[in-house]
Symmetry: C2
Subunit: 144 residues, 2 copies
Amino acid sequence: MTEPNIARARDLEEGAILHLDFTKLVKVAQTGADVLPVVVQDADSLEVLILAYANEIALQKTIETGIASFWSTSRNRLWVKGETSGDTLEVVDIRVNCEQNSLLFLVRPQGEGACHTKGCDGKARRSCYYRSLRNGQLQPIELR
Amino acid sequence: MTEPNIARARDLEEGAILHLDFTKLVKVAQTGADVLPVVVQDADSLEVLILAYANEIALQKTIETGIASFWSTSRNRLWVKGETSGDTLEVVDIRVNCEQNSLLFLVRPQGEGACHTKGCDGKARRSCYYRSLRNGQLQPIELR
């Protein structure tokens, strides 16, 4: 029997039905973690890979190690991307926006892909943005 | 005499001193707006232009008009990007991430630039990410 939350994750991740979680930021704030959004972009292909969150600890860790580290807003702890999967992201550059309230990491992926989901080939998808919203439905796109 | 908040905005936007606002998301949540982060990327150059926030109203407006609309988290109202400056962003594609808690807009800028700040040429900067964090300082970068 499938666990309800596993079934739900599969629907969200692989389904065609749009079910956006507009409460995400409120839930992030409720954890009490002072985090900023971090856009993660491939330094070579310029593909946007993931959006994650960082606090001062995660940013400092990223600067010290050169490996993208975030603050896990679901587990409320430091999250070195790829620490279990091996799919680490080498950080080439850190950019700061005009108002200094978001970050952009330019990275070189060291493993299979940046997304925790897997494509048809059984490998981690390169980017989390593998679906396009068309006529109210989610359609898979070919990642470059 | 310069207003303190104007002086502060200039320091944040044009200065070399890193002064990240890690309380941004908590402040967004406090407005009570159910918003998601939206990464905005140039569909042709693939440059990341801005990070903004959208609620259901802003997403619906974007879909209906084909022009990027967000929810202004400072003014707590619908914000059609470029409504005053003319620097609108035509939306070519809307991508949704694996967990359906962030969006990626692929856009074609119709005006000067996506950032509200101006570069040395007096024109709106193309992207908000015009500074790189190096040795603890912010350094201007050449936007492609």
